[in-house]
């Protein structure tokens, strides 16, 4: 059994088992959701939401409240502030988002770095998958279940909207509502994912798996499934890397996800079967 020991080792430790479960749950749902994030160009919006929720996280940590609560409130405030600021055409949505996010990150850091705050800022910024609590795992499981169902139910309207928003409108689909539902799902995923990977690294869960599979999936449905698989596997690989190399767990998971994206984006030749099917 020596050969399998490197694989089984983390499973024998309670902490690593929980970390694995957390990143597999988050990796699968965020990996699937990421397809729509990339296709609908929401990567910058997702980054902004995950950075902008920092004050919420810090306040929850200072008050001893559940971090999820702080993250959810932080996401809501950040989204509302960005939506208001982005309405000014003189500034443009990109710079307006930058103004809001920079201010919020500064506020979060100010709260966390004042001398009488507990030293938890790095954990909030970069995550600590090894420290997940039962409630974090439950939140991740609920997100994976409810998010998966929502993605399944919304699949056809999302496809029709992304393919041709005008044509979808003529079919009775309301593209505005569909995109709003997608943003809501992204916000929920960000709020839960920061428990595992922190405000700065959770974006990797949403973007990397989708980029890894984007060139290879012939249909949106397969891209979602493949993204979920890649997200779960790369997340688990990151935990193993951290276990064996002794590296920071959150950063290792993010690095494994980024490596998966880089691998998937290499100019592999398309498999012969895909070619003949389309001929």
């Amino acid at each position: 059994m020596d050969l399998l020991d490197p694989l089984l080792d983390p499973l024998r430790s309670g902490i690593d088992r929980r970390a694995l479960l957390e990143v597999v749950l988050l990796g699968s749902i965020c990996g699937a959701l990421g397809f729509w994030v990339v296709v609908e160009r929401l990567a910058y919006a997702s980054e902004s939401l995950s950075h902008g929720l920092l004050p919420g996280l810090v306040l929850a940590a200072l008050a001893g409240a559940p971090l999820l609560l702080g993250a959810a409130a932080g996401v809501a405030v950040a989204a509302a502030a960005i939506a208001v600021a982005a309405r000014d055409p003189r500034i443009g949505p990109e710079a307006a988002t930058g103004v809001v996010v920079t201010g919020l990150v500064g506020l979060g850091a100010l709260l966390a770095l004042s001398p009488d705050s507990p030293q938890r800022l790095e954990e909030l910024l970069f995550g600590d998958p090894l420290g997940v609590s039962d409630s974090d795992l439950i939140a991740a499981a609920v997100l994976a279940g409810a998010g998966g169902l929502t993605l399944f139910a919304l699949h056809r309207p999302l496809s029709a909207t992304a393919f041709d928003a005008g044509g979808a409108g003529a079919l009775g689909v309301r593209p505005g509502l569909v995109r709003l539902a997608l943003l809501g799902l992204v916000a929920a995923a960000v709020a839960v994912a920061v428990q595992g990977l922190g405000a700065l690294l959770s974006l990797a869960l949403l973007v990397a798996p989708a980029l890894a599979v984007r060139r290879h999936a012939p249909s949106a449905g397969r891209a979602l499934v493949a993204g979920a698989v890649v997200g779960a596997l790369a997340g688990a690989a990151g935990i193993y890397l951290s276990h064996h190399a002794g590296t920071a767990a959150g950063a290792s998971v993010a690095a494994a996800l980024c490596a998966a994206a880089a691998l998937g984006a290499m100019p592999w030749r398309r498999p012969a079967s895909a070619r003949s099917a389309s001929a």
């Binding site: 399944f152 139910a153 056809r156 496809s159 928003a165 044509g167 003529a170």
Partner: protein, 249 residues
Amino acid sequence: MSAPRVEVDDLAVGYGGAPALTGVSFTAAAGESVCVLGPNGGGKTTLFRALLGELRPLTGTLSVAARPAYLAQTERTRLDFPVNALDVALMGALAGGPWWRPPSRAAREAAEGALERVGLAGRAGVAFGELSGGERRRALLARALVQDSPVLLLDEPLAGVDPASADLLDSVFRSLRDEGRTLLVSTHDVASAARFDAALCLNGRQVAFGAPAEALTRATLEATYGHELIVLRESGAERMITIQHHHEH
């Protein structure tokens, strides 16, 4: 005579500010095809958007028997989105069935039938972005066919399409009319208007409506197109064509 499928009375619509189109009144019954003529910016697409319910009438009324199927003039489809021709046709089923469930077997069969009808049966599995321009137009028509609406709005369906695709599309349009559907087709091609049951001329307002032979006089065409109209004299007979400008977006 059955009740009209499309009934428009003294309609004015616009995009905020001054109305883009005023004084439109016409009807179209089952099995009728109406040719909508007018210059660029004359209000053809605006009329279609009003019939689709995307623009609210400023004045007047309009009623359409069912949500119309729509073939848009300018393609705003994402060519890099991973769908094949069959997936595109299947999207038409969104208009009828529940959106949260995977498409039914009946919808699949309808989509396959629609692809066959537009001559794409052998190309069902090809990525949309890899189809030719004419094939893409036909796949989008298949989507409209799957929607199975009694009213179809076709916005310059033959503009910029290869001749083979144009012939095929044209024959599908004729068979749709023979099935008793109502077709509104916008076009720049004045010569083809004679083949329709009625012609509607728009230039910011309604210039004329009626059977092509009566409605399409030289005076109405001049009022419709202004300086875009060119009159050719060929061996004594007059032939009128228009200068075409295609929208590039």
